[in-house]
Symmetry: C2
Subunit: 489 residues, 2 copies
């Protein structure tokens, strides 16, 4: 088992430079041209492999096809000469794969084989038929649940690895942690990683994905925000209000309302600009580093603010800012969002009721260096301070933010891989979304990056697809990236 | 067509006295004993008539059986020698009946023949089978949608009138306005009454009902509160926020939230004690008259506050008051209630969304002398004053309060009818609920009272029932009341 290099060596690199003209025109070595030729030659078979994987349903929410799919993943790891074992929950195995080739460097690969339910009514072909159709905007595409999120790229990854094995060499040792509960919030993943810390030693971790926008722009995120989700429930009874079921609304003349209590409580949480009013909420928030600020300045030059407003059809941002300042607020301020609220009768027309409870679904996005335990404690203190003792917090779920410095070697290697293939990525020091990448960056102390060429759309909704052309780009990207990671010339 | 007496003559009576011992023991005249004997003798047939009417479904929300039921009502009016015509909407006719017997006094009777949907899963017998079952608490009962609200009493009314006709005399002229859209909010009723003001002239108006509690307590309401219902809708777009559909919640880092806007707006409406903060909201609220205050003092002696708390399972009232003071707050203060609120995702678990709109269903109960047009205007001004210009009010529905003085002749006559039958009613100057009684009290300037013996439960829900014993009490009550109203000895 190769030893990890000390952490300092991984990060002590200068910030990535602007691409040089020469590098843009750089050719890949002949070895790699041979692998590319293999990909081109066998591409029809590759597509068939991706379709085969997409035809196997693996809906974790419905516990459908999970074991069958885990066995296929195990088979794919074995097909390149690796060993694979099942861990975590018996019903949703985490596939832990190892391919020890005695190379100097080891890459840990994160992936997922489960998908969202596909019960939407508007699928044009069955979601597990993986039909190929010509589209006006994106050429030939595979339509399937999981095509872009994320079984399409997972199957393509193994196509690329097999071509490397056949035409050249896999130049690094590989470890795989491919889970089947990502869409359920990865409930067993952190414990698995904690338990197998030693066996998971590596130089870096990557989540290979079809990471291009549908307009072909390439972005790279070096981190994600953390998240806390929970429900707040305000019930009648304890401080007044109907306790068991809604009652006739004429009783609101003398019986107090859990719906009003909920409104009163929620209104203490943020001001009119949505600035959070919980004592100490912003205490540990750190501003962007000099390095990150440089990335923001650079991003501000290419980033199209109006495109965001057009996408969500909003007339303005909640901050009166632009450019790097807006991006800084977007990425470096934590948020408190109501994802849902309900109380009483919510159907058509009217029903004369006084509700017996009100429920709000809350979501906090955490930024460096906030800790979720601390924020939850502050939230609880806020409830008590304002005298809403009857409010209960239910279904609390949380995980931390993750952040890898732009000076990390793996970041440079991925940027170089993009540039060799003629693409210049937008580098985001953080994403505003959340994913359990902290498992690698925090628990394993590994630099983590997510990327890949290839694109698609419709994740979590009907007619999810990935482009055929993108699969070929993705496979070539994997080849070039592994070569860069291995440091081979 | 008999002329109405001037209004003064109807109201210039002293407040009703405590029952005298003699009156309590008062026998009904022999004429009426004969009618009672007819009711007893033919009671099996009467029950069959009530069942027949209940077996005819008349769900206005589903437009089911409406015309068939209207024709049955027409037939019942004709069976006592009256004339009946259809008015209002063709699909939901208002049955206008007239029985002109050339008597000195005329009574206008309000009724409804439509019922709520009966789609509840827990009916023990089909809702339109009108099955009779023995119950441990209430003896024999008829179980049917409409049994207590209100087709049971409507059919029983005609049983009583037929027995009066056969065994004695109907001592007054009768007019009937029986509508089939009450459960839809009586959308054509006020216009019909306005149009037929002259033909609807009468001395008083009554809504005969099974008005006893299931614990047999007899209550009488001399009025009801008015009502305004509407939705407030807060959408994204205009002042920021996603305009068309919910977006990924990571966007809440820079896009504002219609859910937070809704919370901010709602929190301006009431204080922590639910006192309404709209400028001028309480301006025209008048305190109870001396007469009403006497009723409240009397009510406070028999009224059980803890029973209310037990029923709604609340630990306290929203006012720190008791007795007549609590009753005064309950009846004489207007209220602003949230009957429902919804935004974003409200299912199980979590969904990472930023909602594009939020909706709150609001209900205002109006007391004398508030006017709904004025309150609506003040609500709109409140929206503008607090800068929530994007908030829209939808589905506005309103009607006024109704109030008949306790000194009205019809009130005395109803109290006397109860006392003759050995019952002492709790007299409420107002009810906290709402009903379109203003049509009679305000548009026609007629004293209006609702009452009747008989009881049942389960209105608007499964296993609605009325008691068989109550039907007999109700029929006898109608006979005694019409005799009192006619002033016959």
């Amino acid at each position: 088992m190769p030893e990890n290099k000390p952490n300092e060596e991984r990060v002590l690199l200068p910030a990535p430079k602007e691409p040089e003209k020469a590098k843009e025109a750089a050719k890949v070595p002949e070895r790699i041209e041979k692998v590319f030729a293999g990909i081109d030659k066998n591409f029809t078979k590759h597509i068939a492999k991706v379709q085969e994987f997409l035809k196997q349903s693996s809906v974790s929410a419905e516990k459908e096809g999970i074991i069958e799919t885990a066995l296929m993943v195990k088979g794919m790891i074995e097909s390149i000469g690796g060993k694979a074992t099942f861990h975590g929950s018996d019903d949703f195995p985490i596939v832990f794969g190892q391919l020890d080739l005695g190379k100097p460097k080891t890459l840990l690969i994160y992936g997922m084989y489960d998908v969202q339910p596909a019960d939407e009514k508007t699928w044009k072909s069955p979601p597990f038929s993986a039909e190929i159709r010509e589209t006006s905007q994106h050429g030939k595409c595979i339509f399937a649940r999981g095509a872009v999120n994320s079984k399409g790229s997972l199957a393509s990854l193994f196509n690329a690895l097999k071509e490397m094995k056949a035409n050249d060499d896999i130049p690094v040792n590989l470890k795989f942690t491919i889970e089947g509960e990502e869409e359920l919030g990865s409930p067993h993943f952190a414990a698995f990683v904690e338990k197998h810390k030693e066996e998971l030693r590596a130089d870096a971790c990557v989540d290979f994905d079809f990471a291009q926008d549908t307009d072909q722009k390439v972005t790279m995120q070096l981190g994600v925000k953390g998240i806390i989700t929970f429900d707040i429930v305000c019930k009648g009874g304890r401080v007044g209000g109907p306790a068991e079921k809604e009652v006739h609304s004429s009783d609101s003349a003398w019986i107090s309302s859990p719906a009003w209590r909920m409104v009163q409580f929620l209104s203490t949480l943020v001001d009119k600009k949505e600035k959070v009013l919980i004592d100490g909420f912003y205490d540990n928030v750190i501003p962007p580093s000099k390095e990150d600020m440089e990335l923001l300045d650079k991003l501000a030059k290419t980033f199209d603010e109006n495109m965001i407003l057009r996408e969500v059809k909003s007339l303005r941002f909640k901050y009166d800012s632009h450019g790097a300042d807006l991006l800084q607020k977007y990425l470096y301020l934590p948020t408190l969002n109501i994802t849902g609220v309900s109380s009483g009768y919510t159907g058509p027309g009217q029903k004369s009721v006084l509700p017996s409870k009100a429920r709000a679904k809350m979501e906090i996005r955490l930024v460096p260096n906030q800790k979720h335990e601390e924020i939850l404690e502050k939230f609880r203190k806020h409830i008590a301070k304002h005298g809403f003792d009857e409010i209960e917090m239910e279904d609390i779920f949380a995980y931390p933010w993750s952040k890898t410095p732009v000076s990390s070697r793996i970041v440079h290697e991925m940027i170089d891989a993009y540039r060799i293939l003629g693409r210049e990525p937008e580098i985001w020091p953080l994403g505003a979304w959340s994913a359990p990448y902290y498992v690698f960056s925090n628990l394993l102390n590994l630099p983590f990056v997510r990327g890949g060429l290839g694109s698609g759309d419709g994740e979590h909704s009907a007619n999810e697809f990935c482009t055929i052309e993108g699969i070929k780009d993705f496979e070539k990207f994997v080849v070039v990236f592994l070569n860069e990671f291995a440091g081979k010339k």
